[in-house]
Amino acid sequence: MKTVRLISVMMVLLLLALPVFANGQTETTSAKVEEKVMTHDEMVEAAKAEGTLTVYTYSSRTTKIGDAFTAKYGIPVEVTQLKDTEMIEKVSKEAAANLDAADVVFCQDGSRVIPELVYTNYVTAYIPENISGHIVDAEFENPLVFEAMPKVFIYNNEDVTEQPLTNIWQLTEPEWKGALQFKDPFSEAVNMNFFAMITREDWAQKIADAYKSYYGKEIQLTTKNAGYEWIKAIYNNGCVLGKSDTTIGENVGAKGQHRNLVGLFTLNKMRNAKSKDLALSPAYGMEPFSGFMYPAYVFVAGNAKAPNAAKLFIEFAFTEEGWKPFNLLGDYSPVDYLSDNAEDDLTIVDWKNQLVWEDPAWCAESRADVEEFISSIV
């Protein structure tokens, strides 16, 4: 008897459970961003009527854009900072349930953002008027890139007068054994995207060419292509996985170590190199790349409850006032009137030419293979 009762209770529970499983397929009836063309003043008025604006972001500095925005328009802004995986999960679950959550989404990791947020219409790109015609490269336009951040091979320059690294294959040599550090690609999506990128045929070919120019002979493949080959070689040469780019910068740059050390980490860590007394230099012009550059995108959420304020905010983020918190070494704007970085002579295009640029479509397709490959290197 008791068993029967138990089973029937279980059945009821299962029935209750069904709607949740069905959840994934529900259509989103997201309020489409209105098509009607408004004048700027009308947009400001509409935005003010919408109340608080909610912003999700990868960067803490977005809060400062928010403060400046509030000061200018009187619209309160609430900023939430999220890690990549959490961003994707939160935005897609909220959008699928059609909740009033985010209005503006600043995010990175194209390999997941594109298929999981853009193709699903959970977020939509919006190109404000003030930047149309000012974007310096078509690749920054679709989806709209808010900023690009280089991660560069940066070495300890305490004992050297001349840049010691000119070719990426040097990093697979005994002199650089255990010398290369970068953040575990499994906890830093953009690092994984970089590895995915260099397995694309064009990059693999460039890596094979670099091999030839360094060793004077053709590369012998044990894997699919030269990109995979190089990944395997650096892992087998004892690269060290770090927890954060900040600590990697400190570990590579600390003085008094007197050995070869290099990290692949974000260029903005050069900002505090002086005040932290670190001996660091970026390795420019390496063959075939000096590192990689990844985009951060900005979107209007598909079911934004403050769509006009969201547009106004994006527009504001591309003004000099809005960009100010990002006008620092290591952050590059894709629009020409903001590209003159305060602390660096190089523009986004200069960097793009010597770095591997993240192509979200390729990453989305190949990243799982690369993840599998890397976890199989013991």
């Binding site: 529970l13 459970a17 994934g24 994707i88 255990g178 989305a364 599998e372 976890s375």
Partner: protein
């Protein structure tokens, strides 16, 4: 026939424990079984993130995840090796916890070692602190040139570079995890040593048996069940610990199951992650079942007999001072030093430089304008964000503790009173399940479960209530364990006596059961409170800006690399937890150790 059925039902419902168990079955079934089923389903379906690569629509059936985890050339590094590493470190941790905790509990209960009270309360510290504090300390002291940077303290002082096996990987992971869980051993073994019937030993003594023979033939067999329980508890906790292996394993790429789980959940293959999680859950269920069987056969659980007289303490004689000092030093290193290092790190300007000129209080009391080094973020004590988060954390932890603690106690009552019935067994396991679920998977599932309305259950997402709900369910296992333990100790006859003279159930609980077991009842609240205060991954997906908690703030500062702020918040969390524990202990006599061991 129907009448008979009705009568049965009436009889069933008349027993309060049946009502409690039935309600719990439904509620917990929904709140724990459901996430489980969702997870199982996810191991067999194509996830959105892999749909592009597999060229299959999301949600399509696939065996791919299981095949990849178990039967692929890459399974060796994806699953089998991390699995082996998990076994090695967990067994190592058990050994460390048992030796350290066991020896210590013997010293405290059976010898005339000095400073018993202080040593005993300090010994629990590592368990109250987040597990990675010790890992961080180990890393700072013993790191070698592999990671580069400023040399570790040990190398700086002695000039000797610690070898890799000592600094990272299996050895330190096992050691640090073992030290973290050593309080389990102390509480459980110490509890038995303190309470066991001394008559046996006295009898042996009167027969002039040699002391080491007494230990071998009487003491050890007596404490063996406690040792076994500790072993299983430490083993399963160590298996599921993430922070320590992540911290100490990464520099040499030493993977265990939990770090592998984190990598797959964070990467684009959550399906594989859920497979690993399922295997871990199965493993833990196996261990749990084994534990239940062992405890179940040990019929006589009553430890309070009132008969034992004070057993004579071993006189350490000349060694007394030496042993006392060594014990004190060891415990200070493990319990106090991490706190000192947090405090220190929060008041220095440039990390690694301890010269007096480098000290500053600006990260605590500086105004926003003064703190240009930290992007003009106001010092902690002046920071409105911090106060808000602190208030939220306290509110959340207290409410979770009250709900989890009360429900856990009721569950314990129901399970023990209904012992032997299937219903009790099912509820017992349901209540323990959340403990085995990885926090991250748990919160992802809750996010989708409660983001829309399901029948009578409204969309809870974004509400404070949802945080309370997930915290309650996740931490109820602690409370229900301690509830079960305390109810097992309490003889049935007491309540029956009340029942016979017709005392109502609420009165029986309020006047008899709870007052008698007051201290372990309150202890059931302390563990959920402590865990809640330091939890991050469970809440991070579910918080909205209005109900941000301390740990999410901590995470933000950590990400920015402002170690002074994160160390400061850490210190605050640990101190709050310690103070609350101490106050509760002073006022009610309850303590966290009573919560674990019973």
């Amino acid at each position: 026939m129907i009448k008979k059925q009705l009568y049965r039902f009436y009889k069933f419902i008349k027993k309060p424990y049946n009502v409690i168990l039935s309600v719990l079955l439904i509620v917990l079934g929904y709140l724990t079984l459901f996430p489980m089923l969702t997870m199982i389903k996810d191991t067999f379906t194509v996830h959105v993130s892999e749909s592009m690569r597999l060229k299959q629509a999301a949600g399509t059936f696939t065996l791919n995840h299981w095949l990849k985890v178990l039967f692929d050339p890459s399974s060796l590094s994806v699953f089998y090796k991390p699995f082996l590493n998990s076994l090695v470190t967990s067994l190592g941790a058990c050994l460390v916890a048992l030796v350290f905790g066991g020896v210590f509990s013997w010293l405290i209960t059976r010898t005339n070692i000095r400073w018993k009270k202080a040593l005993s309360s300090l010994f629990i510290f590592p368990y109250i602190m987040p597990s990675w504090t010790l890992a961080l300390a180990w890393f700072n002291v013993f790191k070698n040139s592999v990671v580069g940077g400023v040399p570790g303290t040990f190398q700086a002082l002695t000039g000797i570079e610690p070898p890799n096996w000592f600094a990272y990987g299996a050895f330190p992971i096992a050691l640090v995890t073992g030290l973290h869980y050593a309080p389990f051993a102390y509480i459980m073994i110490g509890g038995v040593l303190r309470n066991m019937d001394a008559n046996l030993e006295e009898a042996a003594m009167m027969l002039k048996t040699k002391r080491n023979r007494i230990v071998r033939k009487i003491t050890i067999p007596m404490i063996l069940p406690a040792v076994l329980s500790t072993f299983l508890l430490v083993f399963s906790s160590a298996m599921s610990s993430f922070a320590v292996p992540q911290f100490l394993g990464l520099p040499v790429r030493y993977q265990v199951l939990t770090t592998q789980l984190y990598r797959t959940l964070n990467g684009i293959n959550p399906g594989q992650g859920y497979c690993i999680a399922m295997i871990m859950i199965l493993l833990s269920v196996g261990i749990l079942a084994f534990n239940q069987r062992m405890v179940g056969t040990r019929k006589n659980y009553t430890t309070v007999t009132g008969k034992s007289s004070n057993i004579s303490l071993v006189n350490l004689k000349k060694a007394r001072n030496v042993i006392s000092v060594i014990a004190l030093i060891l415990i200070v290193i493990v319990s106090i030093l991490p706190l000192v290092s947090f405090a220190l790190e929060s008041v220095i300007l440039r990390p690694g430089d301890y010269s007096p000129s480098n000290f500053t209080l600006q990260f605590w009391i500086g105004t926003a304008e003064e703190n240009s080094i930290a992007n003009n973020e106001a010092g902690l004590l002046r920071n409105p964000n911090l106060w808000k988060a602190l208030w939220n954390s306290l509110k959340l932890s207290i409410i979770c503790a009250i709900t989890a603690g009360s429900l856990g106690f009721l569950a314990g009552y129901g399970i023990v009173r209904g012992r032997g019935t299937k219903l009790a067994k099912v509820v017992d396991n349901l209540a323990f399940f959340p403990y085995l679920m990885p926090s991250m998977a748990f919160s992802v599932i809750y996010l989708s479960m409660f983001s829309t309305r399901h029948g009578p259950i409204p969309a809870l997402y974004g509400s404070f209530f949802l945080l309370v709900l997930i915290g309650t369910v996740k931490y109820m296992p602690f409370a229900s364990r301690s509830g079960i333990n305390s109810m097992l100790q309490l003889s049935n006859q007491i309540e029956e006596a009340g029942e016979i003279i017709g005392v109502s159930w609420p009165k029986r609980m309020g006047r008899l059961v709870i007052p008698i077991q007051k201290s372990s009842f309150i202890s059931g609240y302390l563990l959920p409170f402590t865990s809640c205060m330091r939890e991050l991954s469970l809440f991070v997906l579910l918080v909205t800006p209005q109900n941000r908690v301390l740990t999410t703030l901590l995470f933000q500062y950590n990400e920015k690399g402002w170690s002074q702020y994160s160390n400061g918040i850490n210190l605050m969390i640990v101190i709050i937890v310690l103070v609350v524990n101490a106050v509760v202990n002073k006022v009610t006599g309850a303590s966290i150790d009573k919560g674990i061991g019973g």
